[in-house]
Every structure is written in C-alpha cells, then in structure tokens.
Amino acid sequence: MKGERTFREKGGFEMDISMKAGAEKKPFKFIDIPDIVTICLQQHIGKPNHPIVKEGDMVKTGQKIGDAKCRMVVPIHSSVTGYVEDLKEVYNPVLNRKEKAVIIRRDGNDEMKYLPEYDLDRRKEIVKMVKEAGIVGLGGAAFPTHVKLSSQGIKKLVINAKESDPNLVCDVRLMIDKPAEIVKGIKLMARSLDTDEIIFATRTEEGQIPELERIMKEHGIKVVRVRPSYSVGAEKLLIKEMFGIEVPSGKFPPDVGVVVNNVSTAYAVYRAAYKKEPLLSRGASFYSDLTGIENIWFRNGTSIRQVIEGLGLDIDRFDRIVIGSLMMGWSVGSSDAPLLKYSAGVTALTPEYSKPYEKQLPCIRCGYCDLVCPVDIYPSLIMKAEKADDVKALKRYNVLDCIECSLCSYVCPSQIKLTKHLWQGKNKVNK
C-alpha cells in the first residue's frame, strides 16, 4: 500500500488509486460539533424507524430518538445534546430520496446518555448491545450488524479492512490510531458468533500497521494480505478470493458459514461495549481537488456544508459533492444534506475537475465492460436490452446479479455510464 498507485481488476484493467496514496498518514481532523444536526431516521438496510421524540423535546447525546419493533431495524440516537427543533422529511444523500429526519438544535452542552451494562460473556447480550448501540456495517452497506452477529453455524469471521474504494483511506488511519480497541471489538464479534477463526483481510503491506498486527498475532487473529483490487472489496467476492467459496446468488455469506464485518464496525462495537457509547460519530475520508485527502471525524447528522466549512474551505468553490465511494456514491443536490452513520467518504469537486461522462459516445461493443465485470455478466448487452425494454433479455443476461460496482463504466472507452442502465434494468425486472 505504501507506494500503491493502481489496483488490478479482472481482464487486466487497472484502476488509478493515486488520490489516496500516502493519505493514511494524515491524522483525523475532528469536525466541530455543529449547532444543528439533521438525523435521518433510516440509516440501515431494513424497515424504517419511527420517531420516539417530538418537537420541543430535550435530548441528550446518545439518547434514542428513533426505533421500531422489528429484527431488521437499528435504532437511531441523537448525536448532540439539545432540543428537537423539527421533525420533517429531508433529502437522504445515500438513498437519494426524501426520508423522515429529526432536526436537533444544540444547547451548548454535550451531556451523554450511556448505554446500559451488558454481560459481554453472553452471546445474546453482545448482540443486544450491538443492536441498541445502533451499529450498522460502516463499510457503506449499512446492513444491521446485530443481524450478522446473531447468525448460527458460523465458522469464520472475516474482518474486511480492504478499503477498496479509490477515495477512502479512513479505515487504514483508524487501524493506525486504535489498534487495541479494534482487536477488542473483533474479539467481541467473534464471541457473539461463537467462532475462534478470525481472519483479518487487508491490503496493507507488512509493517504498515505494526501495532495492530502485533496485537492481532497475540490474539491469534490471522492476517491475510488480499490482492490489491477494487472489486475484491465486495463481501462475496472477498470470500471467493480468500476461501474459493462462491456464495450462491440470492444467499448471504452466513449461508456458507462466513460473516464479514468492516474494521470500523469492529471499532464501533468496542465503543459500545467499553465506552457505553452508541454509534454517534465516525471517521471518513474527505477529498477535494483543492486539498487532496483529509481524514475527518464527524458526528452523525453533520451537514456537508459544516464539514467543508469546518475544514476551512469555501463551499461555493464546488459544484459536485459525492457521498461515499466515487465509484458507487451519488453526488448530492444540496450542501445541506446530512452525513449518515455509513458515510465513509465526502468528495468535493470544483467545476474544473474532469467530467469524464459528460460527452458519452455510442457503444463500440469492444467488450471491455464484459471483461472487467467481477460477477461475469454482460453490461453492454444489458444496456441494449434495457434501452429496448426487453425484460426477457435482461433476465437472460442476469441483470439482477449486478453488484453496481461501476467498473463497467470506469473502463468504457466510449465513456458510457453503463451503471445507470444496469439499475434501470434491475428495476424493470423487479417490476
């Protein structure tokens, strides 16, 4: 990783990751706690939360403000101390649609409401704690972590520290800063799954995270250096890469006896267990073509504007702001959009930054998209079928298996955003 400038993808294609080279050396910059936070009630995959506070209520930092009685629900907590100013629909930058949110105005204090005591020797108690702490997969998927940790018959726990996206490096920084804490979180996860086989999948070189590696060795955690590739960061592809196991379509890693969790999620578990803190803040990578990468730490519900201004930048210099991965995240329509629990990256681009898809040319059927596709589907033929509304052909070409990694668009010499057609194709099949 030290001098890493490219990832190698299927078909021999290379992905430029120079924007994050060396950025793991930059410590986290803590964004000031904002005066007002916008906390979206749905920050997980699953059923939505219902607000459990009303306008005018006083709330403490860490106090639950949204919940629902359902297994696939993760409660949501206030990230500041203050009063509820409003409950309204706001734009969710990740789901790219409007969602219910609680607007909280800070009163200047930061009084904490801690999580209750849990018996960390009992598996069920760990799972309960993880749920109550509102922990979701922090790699970007936002899958409820307690659901993963309650899986049965698990043989292997894989900690995904691969951080494959070209603009994200915050996980590596966290591994440098919090090695002992991460290992404690991992051990708790393993305990809840009743497995001793823990594999730490990383792309770092030997000696890059010496302290973490030393502690992991002491605890019998096996470190596996995974081939530097963007697509291998995806959970199922990582399992295939490491163990040769192919998770069947429509199934999940626990169905093959493996649970994969992100390294930042392990740190969140540690904080819940030993600091009694719900998931209120997280580390992320900020990139702009003016500054390069900065590692930041922000409270849930902080707006994009607050982050950018907190870094001393003028928001009006930018015309595109992307949340999450530059390969998979949308650019948002407003700088007032809030950051969520699983926003691992913020990228602000000036109008001068290249817009490679501005002038898309007709498909030349070169087949690059088919070659690079990590799940072996045919993006170009799917695009053709999608344009023709041919649902039969969309099914024939297995559009539903697309993992939306966008590699097809990335390599397309005609600079076509094939990803858009793959989504639309999926929607047409699911209708």
Partner: protein, 341 residues
C-alpha cells in the same frame, strides 16, 4: 451561476480510467503502422503507395464530411480522425499488392463513406465490417468484369488464373505454391513455407511478413484487449482443418497450414478485421462460435479458390452477430457452482 447550496446531482461513477475510444483507435493504428512498414520492406514501393492512397482517401472523405457537418451545425460524428485512420489502414493492408491504386482508393472511399459513416447514420451502429463490406461490394462489381478479355489490364483485382489451381488435390495444391517458392531474402532462397511465414510478395499487403503480423497482433490484442477468443478459435480451427485436409489428400500438412493460416487474407484479417468490435459478438461463447464458423467458411471458400473468401465469410457472419450473442452465455458469479461450506 451556481445557486448557493445547490449542487449538481449525478449518478455514479465519478471516475473514469481515462482510456478512450480515440486512444484505442490511435494505438490500433500505430500497431498497424508497424505491419505496414514491414510490408513496405517486403513488397516495395507499391505497398507504400497503396497505404498512402487508402489513408489519403479516407482522410479526405472524413474531412469533407466533418466540414459539412460543422457547416450544418451538426455535432461531427467523429471528433478525431483516429478511427478513420484505422479504417484507411485496414483497407490498405487488406488490398492485394497487384491491385491497381484506383481500386484501393475506391475501396477506401466506400469504406469510410458508405460503411463507416453511412451505417452509423442510418442503422445507429455498424453491422458489417466497413472495410470487408466495401471490398465485397467492389469485388462483386468487378467480378462482372470476368467476362472481359485480359481483365487485369482493365483494372480488376479478381485474378481468374487462380481458377486453374485445384486445391482439392495434393498435386493441384503443390503446383499452386510456385508463387511462394520464388522468394529470396538477400540471396537466400526460401521454401514456400518459409516464404509464407516471413516474406510474401504476393497477396494482401498486410501479409507481407506473417511473423510480424503474428507478433504485432498478439501484442496489440493483449494490450488493447481485442476479442482474443475470435482470434484463437479462428486460427486453431484453420490449423486443424488445413492439417486434416493435408493429411487426407496426402500433401505436406505443414505447407498446407502455412498456406491456409499465414496468407495475409487470414493472418492479418484474423487479428485486425475479424475482431472489429462493433460487428462481432459480445458473449465469450458467441466469440468462440463466431471464430470457428469464420474459419470453416473461409477454409471452404479458399478450397474453391474464391478470392476474398475470408472477407465474404466475415460479412456473411456479421449479419448473424446478434444471434451469436445468444450462444453460450457464461454463468454469473454465484450461479450453478457447487458451494463448499
């Protein structure tokens, strides 16, 4: 002017590899320039003139259309001449060295005007390989001239004397190889097999030195990611078929392979025409099947002495490209493979 707080909402991705169609075309052109240079060394000044004529014609047509589109206020179809240069070079290298220059100019004109710009304009994409289709069209017209006395003098590229050879017999085949056995490099006499591999002054300009085509073709296919399955299946099928017929008829199978695989109309054609992206299948299975069918059809047409057999075969198969895309669709990740738990 951007409204404060309002930003551009865009779908992912926001990054691109930077490798564009123009770069792909330009690099393809440069690879073909190496082959063209080798052919000039082997075949002499005529090859150079053919290349200049084909490229010049292609560029003139491109510049004329481009100017017309600009004048009409229409976005030019091709912002750069890179792909036109590729088309022009393919025409040049796919012409027989004995062909008159005006025929080369005619094929280049048809290629760019009718089968490159025209197909794109009227059918939204290219269904037929432009250079191959132009050559087939012109060959067809010129074949009518077969009835004319001394047709070569009339400027045709159809060589009726080829009909005197019988490739279906060992004697007929070996007798026809005289044309390749008269080659020599710096005084050293070459056998027909050696000539077919290293130094051909007969046939397609692009086949001047098959070994150069083979090396450049492999490097280009690897670096520029051509549809290699078509190349492999075509060459393998041709090799198997030629070895089989050689053994069956009792002639030298090596010479038979050298002839059927290493003439310019096969070796150059396979690397740089049969892999033309728009007109060939996308699915891997489809590409293999396409290559096998192309080889079989080309081989049969070669046996019957049909000049331009490979390009006729290619144009015929281009028509069915979409059908080939229905063949042997690979199983995606997570489908039908046994899971070890």
């Amino acid at each position: 002017m951007k409204i404060a707080g309002r930003l551009k909402k865009e779908k992912p991705p926001h990054l691109h590899s930077g490798f564009t169609k123009n770069e792909l075309m330009l690099k393809t052109f440069l690879f073909m320039c190496i082959i063209g240079f080798a052919s000039i060394i082997v075949m002499g000044a005529d090859a150079f003139v053919h290349i200049l004529v084909a490229l010049g014609t292609a560029l003139v047509v491109h510049a004329t259309i481009n100017s017309y589109q600009t004048w009409k206020g229409v976005e030019p179809t091709y912002s750069s001449p890179a792909s036109v240069l590729v088309a022009g070079m393919i025409v040049a290298l796919a012409m027989p060295i004995a062909s008159p220059f005006e025929i080369t100019a005619g094929v280049s004109l048809l290629t760019v005007l009718v089968f490159k710009y025209g197909q794109g304009r009227f059918f939204k994409r290219k269904y037929l390989n432009p250079a191959a289709a132009a050559k087939v069209l012109l060959l067809g017209l010129l074949s009518v001239m077969y009835i004319i006395e001394e047709p070569l003098k009339e400027g045709m590229i159809f060589h009726p004397h080829h009909y005197d050879y019988n490739f279906m017999s060992a004697e007929g085949f070996e007798a026809s190889m005289w044309i390749f056995s008269r080659e020599s490099i710096f005084g050293a006499e070459l056998s027909a097999t050696q000539s077919l591999l290293f130094w051909q002054t007969h046939g397609w300009i692009g086949g001047g030195s098959s070994i150069v085509v083979l090396i450049v073709g492999i490097v280009a296919a690897y670096l520029l990611k051509y549809k290699w399955r078509i190349i492999v299946s075509t060459i393998l099928t041709m090799t198997v078929l030629s070895a089989a017929i050689g053994l069956y008829l009792g002639c030298d199978p090596i010479l038979r392979i050298a002839f059927h695989v290493f003439t310019g109309s096969v070796i150059f054609f396979t690397f740089f025409m049969a892999t033309e992206p728009q007109t060939t299948p996308m699915t891997h299975g489809g590409q293999y099947a396409f290559g096998v069918c192309l080889a079989i059809l080309t081989f049969v047409l070669q046996l019957y002495n049909v000049l331009g057999g490979s390009i006729i075969a290619l144009v015929l198969l281009n028509i069915f490209t979409d059908k080939f895309d229905l063949l042997l669709i690979k199983k995606p990740f997570g489908h039908g493979k046994e899971v070890r738990t």
